[in-house]
């Protein structure tokens, strides 16, 4: 006991000498964020008081904690990048950053993290931006509870909300991204977690993976984007409990999979999309417990998709359940609920006694001649669909659900 008190005093004194607090405000001795960073020592805390600071190219090259009180505005005046972090252990919290410069040769960002570890970027509000938060060759960071609202109209002159490039172990949680090119974009980034974000009204994709492996995204909402989520050239991605809705248009998908292997798609819901999931060249993917409701096409399978399993999903009132453009089928459809199923269940075991064929002749015709979509729900189409169901000629005859469920499933 006697030893502890002096020890505590020593700890208290050393810590107070190491971690100082520097205040920044318009009337303080230090009135700019740049000045405060210059004066600060490692592990200091800088508190930015309410006000407007016209600064850009702010370089944080030592481990600092920067906290905004009452959302101070950092105005870049469209001159270029605003904050660049190059040190480890940096925290940026509670700033309102606006007016990032636009350039066609450099990707200016509101906050850029370069070759750093253990950073935390939280409670930021970004507006009028080019790129929002840009993480470059960094690892073990957290991007938490930020609000990013852009004004992107065209793809070529706009940037992404949150972009990860060659980064590892990043957690992206509770962010709100709107009106940018890609809401969240991962390129060559592995082992990242993307959770509870809302990404909507973006010009291109809500979330975009490129060459990124072993990532997980769950409980996110993707609403009204050019396309909800594009997952391309990646392996072992887990996609759980996300909501994809209202992605309407000629090239709009809830989810776009291209060259994806060994992924899991579980518990998601797809509502009111032109195409729920568009699959191309993807293998060994598990689709389970998903809800597809009121989509134009629930699932559109293009070429080269093998050994995928679709089990226990609900297909509710889609114009087309599945479109399939090849005659060979190596995918399994099992124990799903199809609202278009017309069979019966005489032994009352909850499974239909007649197999269901999810691919209709009409979806084959529409694939070939897209204009025929105008004949959707015509009586003639019902008749030819029926005859195809009885004896399949154009659609793969082993593509069927042998155990269609009688009742909609809940989990």
């Amino acid at each position: 006991m006697k030893n502890i008190i002096p020890f505590l005093i020593v700890v208290f004194m050393t810590s107070s000498t190491i971690a100082q607090t520097i205040n920044v405000c318009k009337t303080c001795p230090i009135s700019t964020l740049k000045g405060a960073i210059n004066q600060a020592k490692d592990f200091d805390t800088i508190i930015v008081k309410k006000g407007s600071y016209k600064e850009h190219n702010i370089l944080i090259n030592k481990p600092l904690t920067i906290i905004g009180k009452g959302y101070p505005v950092i105005d870049g005046e469209l001159k270029g990048e605003i904050i660049t972090i190059t040190a480890n252990n940096v925290t940026v919290d509670g700033l309102f950053i606006i007016n990032v410069g636009t350039s066609y040769t450099e990707d200016y960002a509101a906050v850029r993290v370069r070759r750093s570890k253990n950073f935390v970027i939280q409670n930021l509000v970004l507006e009028k931006l080019f790129f929002g938060i840009y993480i470059e060759k960094s690892r073990d960071g957290k991007i938490f509870h930020n609000k990013i609202i852009g004004d992107a109209v065209e793809e070529y002159n706009s940037g992404n909300g949150i972009q990860l490039w060659y980064s590892k172990n990043i957690e992206i949680e509770h962010n709100f991204v709107q009106h940018v090119r890609d809401g969240i974009y991962l390129e060559f980034s592995d082992f990242c977690t993307i959770k509870n974000n809302v990404s909507s009204l973006n010009v291109r994709y809500g979330l975009h993976f490129m060459f990124s492996n072993d990532d997980i995204y769950q409980d996110n909402t993707f609403d009204n984007n050019g396309a909800g989520v594009a997952v391309m050239f990646s392996k072992r991605i887990k996609m759980h409990n996300n909501i994809f809705k209202k992605n309407w248009g000629t090239a709009s998908y809830g989810m776009l999979l291209k060259e994806i292997n060994d992924a899991e798609i579980i518990g998601n819901s797809f509502e009111d999309n032109t195409i729920g999931i568009n699959i191309e060249g993807s293998n060994r993917i598990i689709y389970k417990h998903n809800n597809f409701s009121n989509n134009g096409w629930a699932i559109k399978i293009k070429g080269a998709c093998y050994t995928n399993t679709f089990t226990k999903n609900n297909f509710l009132y889609n114009s087309f359940d599945i479109a399939y453009n090849s005659k060979v089928n190596d995918n399994t459809f099992d124990k799903n609920y199809w609202s278009n199923y017309t069979g019966y269940d005489l032994d009352k075991d909850g499974t239909g006694d007649v197999p269901y064929r999810p691919v209709k002749l009409f979806s084959y015709i529409v694939n070939r001649t897209p204009e025929t979509i105008i004949l959707l729900r015509s009586m003639f189409i019902d008749i030819i669909d029926f005859s195809e169901k009885v004896s399949p000629v154009f659609t793969p005859d082993n593509l069927l659900d042998n155990e269609p469920q009688i009742k909609k499933m809940t989990w």
């Binding site: 032109t274 009121n294 134009g296 009132y317 070939r368 105008i374 959707l376 729900r377 015509s378 003639f380």
Partner: protein, 260 residues
Amino acid sequence: MLKILKYSFYDLMRSRWSYVYFAFYLLLGVVLLFLNNDLSKAVITLMNVIIVLVPLIGTIFGVMYYYNSKEFTELLLAQPLKRSSIFLGQYLGVALSLSMSLILGLGLPFVCYGLFESSAIWDFSLLLITGTFLTLIFTALAFNIAMSNENKIKGFGYAILLWLFLAVIYDGLFLMTLIMFEDYPLDKLSLIGTMLNPIDLSRTLILLKLDISALLGYTGAVFKQFFGTSFGLIVSFVTLIIWVVLPVLRIVYKSKKKDF
């Protein structure tokens, strides 16, 4: 004309067939709601039924009524009445009583089920409007057929053929044409093809509401303008009105020329 309309209307209201027709729709509505437990799903199923059945019943009923009331018509013709008003009155009497059975028969169960609080109300009213249009169009076509054929059997034959052609065969030919010319830009052709058939036209109108997400999947500027804006809705309604007006004009024209 109004007097004759009134007479025809009350006559039909008293007839057994109107009640059967009304009861059929009532039953259909109740059963659909009972089985589906979901208003919007019921509306979709109903659409399939309406598109096929309303034209059939309109045609058969129109032809039947014309032949049945022929003696009475001849009696009326002996009176100092305008010919056009006699026939138009009869036509409207049939068409309106049929529409009323449709609207009441389907409307009642849906209203009881809580239509006014649901979001399906617009889809449902669109359904009733197209149903009414189809009744007006097909009754008028039936009157045309009946007036041109003295022979009852022939008249009925033509009426059923007309229905079969517009409901099924037309779509088959349409589909064949589209597939045959698939190398050419077809979006205009397909829209015009739809306009030329009232059943297809009403189907598209309802598709606009129910399957818009699928329809937008097709890349074509004309399609996009048609389905993506209210332009499609307006054009469809105008064409439906033309579809009513043209056969009615022919009834007027034919009634003036016809010998009895």
